[in-house]
C-alpha cells in the first residue's frame, strides 16, 4: 500500500456527527387524566422535522405512541446500545429526547404507568451521546385551550449535572416550574411544540444563515408561546436550562439541501398560517420578520397571512430544493365578514357593515297585496354569530267595490344568525325579531277612519351570501314572519306570512 493510499484510507476515517432521537407522544396518562388530542401528533411532527431538516436518519428515529413506562425504558435502552455500538471515538453523537403528554412535578404519566422524572433525567444525562437535548411538553386536560399541567407537587425542574463526562445537556420545558402547559385546537397541537417546530422550520432563523440553532428555536418558541397564551387563563412561560460546553450554539436544523424539502420565502413580515390545500389541517403558524425563509416538505399548501384587520390567502407549491416567494399582492384578500367569522385577524375580531336592500312580504290581511319596501341597517360579524339591526319601510294596497286600502309599514328588528363559509359563498340560518308600526288609510265615498296597529313579530330565516369583493357581500334571505296581530274579528291574533329579501353589505372594517 502506497503512503498516498494509506493517507487516503486514514483520511476516510474522519469524525462524524451522528444524531439519534426518541420521540414520545402520550395522549393517555393516568386514568384520572383527560385524554389529550394532540400529543401523538406533536411527536410525529417533531420527528418529521428532525428527519427532514434535523439530519436525524430515519433509522435513528424512535417514535413511541402512547407507550407505557416499560416501553419507554426498553426503547431508551435499545437506543443506548446502538449509540454505544455505532459511535466511534472520533465521532460526535447527539441525542434528542422529546416528550409530549401528561406529567406532574415528579413523574411522566404514561398510559396508566409512571416514569419518574429523575429517572428520565438520569437516563438522558448518562447517555453515551456527547450532547443531549431533552424537550418536555407536559399535558393536562383543560378547556378549549387545554391546560397541560403540573399538580401541586414540587416545581418541575431538571437539574444539569455539570460534572458529566459528556459535552453537556440542554433541557427545555414548555412551561416554567409550577406552570401549566396548553394544547390549542386552533393550532392543532401543543402551543409550545407548535411554535418550537415552526422555529425549527425557519421561523426562528434570526441570523438568516439558513440554520436554526437551539437557542434560536427556544427564543422564538418562548416569545410565541407567551403571546399565544396571553389570551388564555394562564400565560405559559417556557423554561430552559442549557449546559453545553460545545463551541458555538448547537445547530438543530439545516434549511438547505434537505431531501423532499423546499423553501417558502416571505418578503413581508407578519403572521403566516400554512394549511393543507383544502384548508382543513394546519401545518404551521409562524410570525416572521421580513425576508424570512421557511422550509416545508414539498407539496401544495394553502397560505394565509394575518394582519390586525385583514387576512390574505393564496395557494403555493413547494418543490424540492426550490424557493417559492409570495407577497400579499399575490394573494387574495378574504372578505371582511368571513375573516371576522374565522377570528383570523391578529387584533380585530369583528367586522362592521352597513346593509341596504329590498324586501317583499305577503300581505298581512286578506286581499292586501304583498308589501314591497326598502331596508337599511347595520351588521356585526363575529366568530360565533352575526348580528344585524334593520329598519324597513314598505307599502301595499288592496281594494274592493267600496274603498281602496293603502297600507304603510315601518319596522325595526334585530336578527342573529350563524353563517358557514364555503369559498366565496356563505350559508346560514337564524332568527329575526322586532316590531312593526302599520297604518292603513282608506279612500272611499263613505266613511273609513285610518287604522294604526303596532305588532311585534318573529321570523326564523335562512340566508345565503356571495362575497363580491372583500368589502361587499350580496345577500339573499328568506323566512316566515309571524306577526302578533289580528286581521279580522274571527281570526286568531296571529298572522304568518313568508318574506324574501335581497341586500348589499358594505363592510366599514
Amino acid at each position: 500500500m502506497t503512503p498516498l493510499l494509506l493517507a487516503a484510507l486514514v483520511g476516510s476515517a474522519q469524525a462524524e456527527e451522528r444524531r439519534y432521537a426518541i420521540l414520545i407522544g402520550a395522549n393517555r396518562g393516568d386514568a384520572s387524566d383527560q385524554l389529550l388530542k394532540y400529543a401523538g401528533r406533536d411527536a410525529r411532527r417533531f420527528s418529521e422535522v428532525l428527519r427532514t431538516l434535523g439530519e436525524v436518519p430515519a433509522g435513528n428515529l424512535t417514535l413511541l405512541s402512547d407507550p407505557d413506562a416499560a416501553e419507554v425504558r426498553e426503547a431508551m435502552d435499545s437506543l443506548e446500545s446502538r449509540i454505544a455500538a455505532e459511535v466511534r471515538e472520533q465521532d460526535t453523537a447527539l441525542l434528542f429526547v422529546y416528550y409530549s403528554g401528561h406529567a406532574d412535578a415528579a413523574d411522566l404519566h404514561l398510559d396508566g404507568t409512571r416514569l419518574p422524572l429523575a429517572e428520565l433525567k438520569r437516563r438522558v444525562g448518562d447517555s453515551h451521546a456527547d450532547a443531549q437535548v431533552l424537550v418536555v411538553d407536559a399535558c393536562r386536560a383543560g378547556e378549549l385551550t387545554r391546560m397541560k399541567g403540573a399538580t401541586p407537587a414540587e416545581p418541575f425542574t431538571i437539574n444539569v449535572n455539570t460534572a458529566s463526562t459528556h459535552e453537556g445537556m440542554a433541557i427545555i420545558t414548555s412551561a416554567a416550574p409550577g406552570e401549566d402547559a396548553q394544547e390549542s385546537d386552533r393550532l392543532q397541537g401543543g402551543v409550545f411544540t407548535h411554535h418550537f417546530i415552526a422555529g425549527l422550520q425557519g421561523a426562528a432563523d434570526q441570523s438568516g444563515d439558513h440554520r436554526v440553532t437551539l437557542r434560536e428555536a427556544y427564543t422564538y418558541s418562548n416569545d410565541r408561546t407567551q403571546m399565544t397564551t396571553s389570551s388564555a387563563r394562564v400565560v405559559q412561560h417556557p423554561y430552559r436550562n442549557f449546559n453545553m460546553t460545545s463551541q458555538g450554539d448547537l445547530v438543530v436544523t439545516q434549511l438547505e439541501g434537505a431531501r423532499r424539502v423546499g423553501y417558502l420565502s416571505l418578503p413581508e413580515s407578519g403572521t403566516y398560517v400554512v394549511f393543507d390545500p383544502k384548508g382543513s389541517s394546519l401545518v404551521t403558524e409562524l410570525e416572521v420578520p421580513s425576508g424570512s425563509r421557511i422550509a416545508l416538505t414539498e407539496g401544495s399548501y394553502l397560505l394565509r397571512k394575518r394582519t390586525p384587520a385583514k387576512v390574505y390567502q393564496g395557494n403555493i407549491t413547494i418543490r424540492q430544493g426550490q424557493t417559492t416567494a409570495i407577497q400579499s399582492s399575490q394573494m387574495r384578500q378574504l372578505p371582511y365578514g368571513q375573516t371576522a367569522r374565522r377570528g383570523d385577524t391578529t387584533q380585530r375580531h369583528v367586522a362592521l357593515g352597513i346593509i341596504a336592500g329590498a324586501a317583499v312580504e305577503q300581505g298581512l290581511a286578506i286581499g292586501i297585496s304583498p308589501s314591497l319596501g326598502g331596508t337599511l341597517g347595520l351588521r356585526l360579524d363575529m366568530p360565533a354569530l352575526t348580528l344585524d339591526g334593520r329598519l324597513r319601510y314598505a307599502t301595499s294596497s288592496g281594494e274592493n267595490d267600496y274603498l281602496t286600502i293603502d297600507q304603510t309599514l315601518l319596522s325595526a328588528d334585530l336578527s342573529g344568525y350563524r353563517l358557514y363559509d364555503i369559498g366565496r359563498f356563505s350559508l346560514g340560518a337564524g332568527v329575526r325579531a322586532g316590531g312593526a308600526w302599520i297604518e292603513q288609510e282608506y279612500t272611499t265615498a263613505g266613511e273609513a277612519p285610518a287604522a294604526t296597529v303596532l305588532a311585534p313579530y318573529v321570523s326564523p330565516l335562512v340566508r345565503t351570501e356571495l362575497s363580491l369583493t372583500p368589502r361587499f357581500s350580496l345577500g339573499l334571505e328568506g323566512g316566515i314572519s309571524t306577526y302578533f296581530i289580528s286581521s279580522g274579528e274571527s281570526s286568531p291574533p296571529l298572522r304568518t306570512v313568508p318574506y324574501a329579501a335581497i341586500d348589499l353589505t358594505g363592510f366599514v372594517f
Binding site: L364, G367, I405, Y442, T444, A448, S487, G488, S491, L494
Partner: protein
C-alpha cells in the same frame, strides 16, 4: 298560541286590540238596517236566491235606478240585515226642493236573483217595505211654519230610515219622519204593492211604477 300569551306580548304596545283590515272591510257603515220578511211560507217555496236591493226613486224618470250597494246578510229567511257604506251618487238626487238641500229616496225591495249575479240587474221584485223607506239628506232642512220641528222627529244629514211624511202638515217641502228603530218589515206580494209609500205627498205612488217593468209580485 293562547290569547293570554299574545296579549302579554302586546303589553307594552298600543292598540293591540285593533286589527288590520283586508278587502272584506267596506268602511264604517253609513246606515245599518235590519228587519224581517213576512209571508215566510211563500218565500220558502221560491226558486233562486232572495236578495235585497235599495231601489232609488228618481222623479220624472220612467225607469228606476236600483243598486244593491250594500252588504246584506240573510241569516234566515225571516231575518235580514243590510248596511250601506256609500252615499248615493249625485245622479240619484231628487229634484232640489230647497236651496242647499239635496235628498235621495230609496225603497228596500226583495227580489229574486235568478241569474245568481248577486247584484241587481232588472230582476223580478217579490216584495218590499211599504211603511218605511230610506231617506238620504245632504244639507239642511228648511224651516217649517210654526217654528223648528222637534229634535228626534226629523231626519239628520246622511242616511235615515223614515216613514212617509204627514201630508196634511206640509211645509215648504214634505219632510218624512224618523222610523224608530231602524227596523224594516218586508212584505211579499199585494201586501207591499197595494201599499206603496207616497213619499212626495202628491197623492200618487207613481214614483215607484217603473219597478215592475221586469216583473212584480209572487210569480
Amino acid at each position: 298560541m293562547p290569547r293570554s300569551i299574545s296579549l302579554a306580548l302586546c303589553f307594552s304596545l298600543v292598540a293591540c286590540d285593533e286589527s288590520l283590515n283586508g278587502i272584506n272591510y267596506y268602511g264604517e257603515p253609513l246606515l245599518e238596517m235590519s228587519g224581517e220578511v213576512l209571508s215566510e211560507s211563500v218565500v220558502g217555496a221560491l226558486d233562486g236566491e232572495l236578495r235585497i236591493a235599495l231601489l232609488w226613486s228618481l222623479p220624472g224618470v220612467v225607469e228606476l235606478q236600483a243598486e244593491s250597494s250594500a252588504e246584506l246578510e240573510m241569516e234566515t229567511i225571516i231575518n235580514w240585515s243590510m248596511n250601506l257604506y256609500h252615499p248615493p251618487d249625485e245622479s240619484l238626487y231628487q229634484e232640489q226642493l230647497s236651496e242647499g238641500m239635496n235628498t235621495a229616496i230609496g225603497l228596500p225591495v226583495l227580489y229574486i236573483d235568478a241569474d245568481g249575479s248577486q247584484t241587481w240587474n232588472d230582476e223580478w221584485i217579490l216584495g218590499g217595505s211599504s211603511s218605511t223607506f230610506v231617506f238620504y239628506l245632504e244639507g239642511e232642512l228648511p224651516m217649517l211654519p210654526g217654528g223648528a220641528p222637534d229634535e228626534g222627529e226629523i231626519p239628520e244629514e246622511g242616511y235615515n230610515v223614515v216613514i212617509p211624511p204627514d201630508c196634511n202638515a206640509l211645509g215648504p217641502v214634505p219632510i218624512p219622519r224618523l222610523s224608530d228603530p231602524n227596523r224594516v218589515s218586508l212584505e211579499i206580494g199585494d201586501l207591499f204593492f197595494d201599499s206603496l209609500p207616497d213619499t212626495n205627498c202628491d197623492g200618487e205612488t207613481n214614483e215607484w211604477l217603473a219597478m215592475c217593468e221586469h216583473g212584480c209580485g209572487v210569480p
